[in-house]
Symmetry: C2
Subunit: 501 residues, 2 copies
């Protein structure tokens, strides 16, 4: 029953991308959904033409117009681009919520079959180490910044709770490494704990990320919705996919305030490209998330049922699945044949899986209903920040130096000046001055912490610049490479102690 066509940007992508995208498009058309596809380019060819972002302006314009994207995998060819075009797309359109359902499928053999695995990993998609801000501190010491903001944390954690509420899910698990990273991962955990009471019908629990990985291997059916920071989410969402059949069956949606991008998780698999052999299930399942996002829930349900019928009957089986089940790879279904089988099964109901109601399905509408839009728990902005009581009480100065702490310490103390003092020196986070009697390995990078001589007194910029000037004057002996101010915000130290301090 075609109504007004939906406008959707489609990026066929690299390798097997065009084939799996074509499969999803054919099925959507057969299900009677009218989509006006705007075909757009990104990935390998774009990089090779010299666009170092991999995402040309015409594609950006199309997405800004349609606000909905179906995309195949993109390659970043070695030597042409520095940043993955997949990541760039997610960042440019601020799709902060990466949603990865991992659900047992009939006919897909796994060691966990029959246990009822049915979880959704909600991964923060913008911040964390994926901000990609890296600096060589010395010729042999590299650094990447892990950035976690309260606002970014609130957005993704709200997204997870709202998703759980919308889909009638019971529990949201927050997975962090807050026990080690008390300020960054700890902020994420604290935001989770402060928001949870707003969702009293949902069980809120926090688990340490390594325990989550452990529990996923031991008892994955315990998980429902899992919300986590970017790198943690990257690892456990791929782990979760591995429990239910692998990347060939792993859909994903990237949701922002304005734009949503739907893609398979798997790569471009160039060795299978153009051979009509790839399993398109992951992209088909992703396209169902797209259909639900644009409100085509009935068609999405019909397609999902047809996919489930096709998998449970096992008459059309793609090569990858035939290989896994010990079936006849020679007689496996082509991508086209598998797609035809799904189309032929439209209108049928699966028999081996429990009935699924629309509201239970992974991913409902992504945009919160206006009447249900949650109010932010915190306010953000210049006035709010300015109202936070604060003081700068020192600096951490990172120096390229191989000098033993026992001689570097007094020399740096001598440079501290009248207002400041050297509080300690650490090497890779472990205090080496004042000495603890131990000499951890030296990698040629020291961190010297300077604070006011007067306990807890504020340190103005002039003092910091004067200190830098004195340190610079001794030249290569203490070549500074990086400075962090030590702030106290609302009475809480905004910095951690060194190990052993």
């Amino acid at each position: 029953m075609p109504g007004q066509p939906h406008h959707v940007t489609v990026i066929p992508g690299d390798g097997v991308g065009p084939e799996v995208v074509r499969s999803a498009q054919r099925i959507i058309a057969a299900a009677g959904v009218a989509i006006d596809w705007e075909t757009a380019e990104a990935g390998a060819e774009v990089f090779k033409r010299g666009d170092t972002s991999g995402v040309p302006q015409a594609t950006r314009d199309s997405i800004a117009r349609t606000r909905v994207v179906l995309k195949g995998p993109l390659e970043t060819p070695v030597g042409f681009g520095e940043k993955s075009a997949n990541v760039t797309l997610r960042k440019l359109f601020e799709t902060y919520a990466n949603v990865r359902p991992a659900r047992e499928l009939p006919g897909v053999p796994t060691r966990y079959a029959g246990e009822g695995v049915d979880m959704i990993i909600v991964r923060e998609n913008i911040e964390d180490l994926y901000a990609g801000i890296e600096h060589m501190q010395t010729p042999d010491v590299a650094q990447c910044l892990k950035i976690i903001s309260r606002k970014g944390s609130e957005k993704i954690i709200r997204y997870a709770f709202e998703l759980a509420r919308r889909e009638g899910r019971r529990k949201v698990t927050c997975a962090t490494k807050a026990n080690i990273m008390k300020l960054t991962e700890g902020l994420f955990k604290r935001v989770f704990e402060e928001l949870a009471p707003e969702y009293p019908e949902i069980v809120a629990e926090h688990l340490i990320i390594d325990n989550v990985a452990h529990q996923m291997a031991k008892d994955p059916a315990q998980f429902d919705v899992v919300v986590t920071t970017n790198l943690n989410g990257d690892i456990i969402s791929d782990l979760a996919s591995g429990l239910v059949g692998g990347l060939g069956f792993a859909p994903s949606g990237n949701y922002g305030d304005d734009v949503a991008i739907f893609e398979a998780v798997h790569g471009s698999a160039p060795k299978y490209a153009g051979k009509d052999v790839i399993n398109p299930t992951a992209l088909i399942l992703s396209s169902l998330m797209l259909l639900r996002h644009v409100g085509e829930t009935t068609a999405a349900a019909a397609i999902e049922d047809a996919v489930l019928v096709t998998l449970e009957e096992g008459r059309a089986v793609t090569q990858d699945l035939a290989r896994q089940t010990g079936g006849d790879v020679e007689r496996a279904a082509s991508t086209t044949g598998f797609t035809d089988a799904i189309i032929a099964n439209l209108g049928r109901q699966p028999s081996s899986v429990p009935p699924r109601h629309g509201w239970e399905r992974p991913s409902g509408e992504a945009t919160p209903r206006p009447e249900g839009t949650p109010r932010p728990h915190w306010s953000y902005g210049a006035a709010v920040s300015a109202a936070v009581p604060r003081a700068t009480v020192g600096i951490d100065l990172f120096l390229e130096s191989w000098e033993p702490a026992l001689s570097a310490g007094p020399a740096l103390e001598a440079l501290a000046g009248e207002a400041l003092k050297l509080e300690m020196i650490s090497s890779r986070g472990t205090m080496v001055y004042p000495t603890t009697g131990l000499s951890p390995d030296n990698v040629g990078l020291l961190r010297a912490r300077f604070v006011a001589r007067e306990d807890g007194a504020a340190v103005p910029d002039e003092e910091i610049l004067a200190l830098l000037d004195r340190v610079s004057s001794v030249g290569a002996r203490f070549a500074w490479t990086h400075i962090e101010k030590l702030h106290v915000f609302a009475g809480e130290p905004g910095y951690t102690k060194a190990q052993g301090q």
Copy 2:
């Protein structure tokens, strides 16, 4: 056949720690190994006495003397300590190699039983985000530094290759996120690739960490030795444990150049403390690694055989295992009873597992034999660093500011001065000035990159300090919080571009 007693520091630790440690000590004594145990304290009680490190000087002194530690789990009581005492111990003694074997055990039911899972995760134990260097950039944006050094990477990667060689293992897999973090995780990967040719008999492969998690769920038997950075290793070693029976069976060793610390991976499980119900297998297996480390390989083999016999016969089964196998929990063996059973089985051979030769067993001697000590591939030190051609070509200045990039950009350009120019501004790693036509979400932290007006020219410290002085002079509008120098080392830019740049 007791010879000279070995001197070992034993830290019974918190919760169930004393019970599992006692179990291991009894078995070692029964196997005829003479150990002079120096009992030492660390953990909860120490924190509560006001020692914020959780590791008192007497314990540090004992370890410095014995250089070998058997320890139970330590707690960091909320409100008393900021850093985990477990981590502090590893850092203080620079035990850079965390070794976690994950091997199928008879009688321990898992979904992967019979597949021959037998891998060793070698995790870098000092660097990465676990340096614990965190700074609040603004009241609502937290940052943690991920630090990866060439020297630290070489040490752990060599450790993994030497371990593989010593134990006759076939393959070493390096697991990183080098595709996203090209400087940090990329450095680890490059070091791996440069060292691999020195071990031609060992297959060297690199896999992206999320793929490793995925493959561990799908086909864990493919892994042999896996070497990885600290956080990655934390997650996948717990995952690997989950595949072969869980933390109750997960031993670990932390090896440094001087000191080795052997501990179970599980926590202190306070609710089981003092009840004689805990499964001591993990600590017993850890103590085998200790025995091999001090050269007691025959006794270690005898104890391992006795543990395997006890598990495969299943006559003495601890509560946790009885619960997993649907056995009678009421009649489960106590910690003491299970220990007695192992002691009674000393001298017997397991029947259901293939014979294991000493050199095949997880962890051999930790200290490389003198004649086999590998030469460092690189040299490290002040002279080596100083010889690297270098230039500082700009700075990244992190500013607390909510100002839209469109107005912040020109204002910062005006502050750049005569020698410098503003190259770009980014927000959480995505370029926002010059404008890309998109406005990603603002979290109140901008990164402004300044470079020389003259392309690629060096920027001396005086210029940087003058810039900082100008930025400071405008006060709260652009409150700077963090500075990174942009270095070019040996012709390679030591910094990454922003997304969209």
